[in-house]
């Protein structure tokens, strides 16, 4: 029974997506409650799966009982279990927010469709995390592309169409180069199953080294485009800025991270360290990540639109994650996993609190935030916590991820990387702090009633409060998740 849990999770999401249209004639609240229950159910089962896997090792599921040489296989190891729990949990929070967000350009009759797309996307996200098959990952990737593009363009505004067109074009280039990489790997190994591919690559990589390095290049570039790793980031700011706020939060904190997980799988499960060290992949990734960390922040400083600024900030934060991966050590990978979770929480908190501000005040520009904290203390409070987390102030989860990244860099004997981490943190200060200062200090103090809570639909406030508490909790008690992440990172068999 426990072996069936991954596929049951996915089927629950797919079933939800199919049932929502049937509920379209009833009150919309029924749909919302139904979807929430499904998410809660899957979250419970993901929790259960995580504990089961931590004790008993990976779950392996073969479709239709076929041998994994010819069939599709799911393999849920500890990392996959952690990430799937993170995806479902964070989506639940964003889902609660989206229940209150009635405007933001999405029309009344489109609400149901929005949730259909959301659940299909979740189905594919879980699939890509669980799957142990390179081609199957490609198929899920395409489902994610179409659904994410649709939840950007569901807002019937001019600029969303142009943004999602650019997104779909670049995403397709990414997917197709990933597919080319898979084809090249299939050419030398004859498998698409990750375990078998990895076995045969370990034996033949010196014979077919040209083939392997071209495949590696295509795969990394394909995933890099989709995960918005620095030189391939151009689609991200437009897409994130023009999407509805809850979609931006989903895209930035979940979808991009899932591709990073695919990158981790590719590097450490398919190619493994011998091949990677021979081709100096570590050096390339470190350079890419370091430039991304700096350039993303510099671009962000120049932006006037807050959501665009957050998009560029995502690019620099993805640099941190890639840098953690590029250390090629257990410590680096666990810091990358921690930063996946912590950045997910922080970026979702930022996008959702900005979403509340846009909902309430209809402002988008950085310099319009003056004195806003007097009117919306809770929203701006969460925004401040998350922004401080981005900068890396102690007591927030961002501090812990930067600390572990620095320790991993020292362990990797690349102390100069710490300078880049600190420099990027300082650049973050330049664009986050003015917003905080102008909203809290730069205005005539109005008389503030502590009991008069800002008038915003309660689901929106609840979700940002949950995110703020989450950031602080993981900042004060990082071992709640750090231990299990270290455990997951050590499973990859480092030399």
């Amino acid at each position: 029974m426990i072996n069936q849990l991954p596929i049951i999770n996915m089927l629950l999401f797919l079933a939800t997506a199919l049932i929502i249209p049937l509920l379209s004639r009833r009150k919309f609240n029924i749909t919302l409650i139904f979807g929430f229950n499904m998410l809660a159910l899957v979250m419970t089962s993901s929790f259960f799966m995580l504990f089961h896997i931590a004790d008993n090792g990976a779950i392996i599921y073969q479709f239709g009982g076929h041998d994994s040489r010819i069939g599709i296989e799911f393999k849920v190891d500890l990392m996959a279990a952690i990430i799937s729990l993170f995806v479902v949990g964070l989506t639940t929070v964003i889902y609660i927010y989206s229940c209150g967000d009635e405007t933001e350009g999405v029309e009344q009759k489109e609400y149901g469709r929005y949730y259909i797309l959301l659940f299909i996307m979740l189905f594919a996200l879980l699939g890509i995390i669980y799957t142990n098959d390179l081609f199957n990952a490609y198929v899920f990737m395409e489902i994610i592309s179409i659904t994410t593009c649709s939840i950007i363009s569901i807002k019937r505004k001019k600029e969303t169409y142009a943004a999602s067109f650019r997104y779909v074009m670049l995403n397709e280039i990414g997917s197709l180069s990933y597919l080319f990489g898979v084809a090249l790997i299939y050419m030398v190994t004859g498998y698409t199953n990750i375990d078998f591919v990895s076995q045969s690559i370990q034996t033949i990589w010196q014979l077919y080294s040209i083939n392997i390095i071209i495949a590696l290049g295509f795969l990394i570039i394909g995933i890099g485009i989709k995960a918005a790793v620095f030189p391939f980031h151009i689609w991200l700011p437009d897409a994130h800025a023009s999407a509805p706020s809850s979609s931006s939060a989903l895209l930035s904190s979940i979808v991009v991270k899932v591709y990073i997980v695919v990158l981790i799988k590719l590097l450490f499960k398919v190619f493994k360290l011998d091949v990677l060290n021979h081709f100096h992949v570590s050096d390339i990734l470190v350079v890419v990540a370091a430039t991304g960390m700096i350039m993303g922040s510099i671009f962000a400083i120049a932006q006037k639109d807050v959501k665009r600024m957050l998009g560029y900030s995502s690019i620099s934060q993805i640099g941190y994650i890639v840098m953690g991966i590029a250390m090629f050590s257990s410590l680096g990978l666990s810091s990358a996993l921690f930063h996946i979770v912590s950045h997910g929480l922080m970026k979702a908190a930022l996008f959702l609190s900005v979403g509340i501000i846009i909902y309430k005040k209809k402002i988008k520009k950085k310099d319009q935030f003056e004195g806003l904290a007097y009117e919306m203390p809770i929203t701006m409070g969460v925004f401040t916590i998350a922004a401080l987390g981005m900068i890396g102030i102690p007591l927030t989860s961002g501090f812990i991820s930067k600390l572990t990244l620095g320790v991993a860099a020292l362990d990797h004997r690349q102390g100069f990387l710490i300078i880049i981490v600190v420099l990027s943190g300082l650049l973050n200060v330049i664009y986050y702090l003015p917003i905080i200062i102008s909203s809290f200090l730069k205005s005539e103090p109005k008389i503030y009633h502590p009991f008069k809570i800002e008038k915003v639909p309660w689901p929106m406030l609840t979700s940002v409060i949950i995110l703020g508490i989450g950031i602080l909790t993981f900042g004060i008690f990082p071992n709640l998740i750090m231990n299990i992440m270290t455990q997951a990172a050590e499973l990859f068999g480092w030399v």
């Binding site: 280039i173 084809a183 698409t192």
Partner: protein, 126 residues
């Protein structure tokens, strides 16, 4: 002569890579949105060609069991992968074409340069 022989032997692979590059160039440099979608299709086709070429065995027959002895079959798995790939590329094409229709309705143009200018003007008005 040897170069020509290598070329002829690997014509499928070379063709696939050439098509991939043609498609990539079309997507990246062309200004017309429809042409860019066509470029994507060319890229997709190149990969399908590549996969078919991998699966092919010289002198092989289609993998339908006929009971005869001593027959070599071609590898069916790449063809099956391509079927999935074709469906995916078709759906992406449909989606991006529908976006193009919407863009044309909104802006009245499908030229990337004009589109960029229009978007910039909209930004200035905000």
């Amino acid at each position: 002569m040897q170069i020509i022989q290598v070329f002829v032997d690997n014509i499928n692979f070379i063709g696939a890579v050439a098509l991939f590059l043609i498609g990539l160039r079309t997507v990246v440099t062309k200004k017309n949105l429809i042409k860019r979608i066509m470029g994507l299709n060319i890229m997709g086709t190149s990969i399908f060609l590549f996969l078919v070429a991998i699966g092919n065995v010289t002198g092989g027959v289609p993998p339908i069991l006929s009971g005869e002895e001593g027959v070599t079959y071609i590898n069916p798995i790449p063809s099956v992968l391509i079927l999935t790939g074709i469906v995916v590329v078709v759906s992406i094409t449909v989606y991006s074409l529908s976006l193009t229709v919407k863009i044309y309705e909104m802006y009245g143009t499908i030229n990337q340069d004009e589109l960029t200018n229009l978007i910039r003007e909209d930004d200035l008005h905000d």
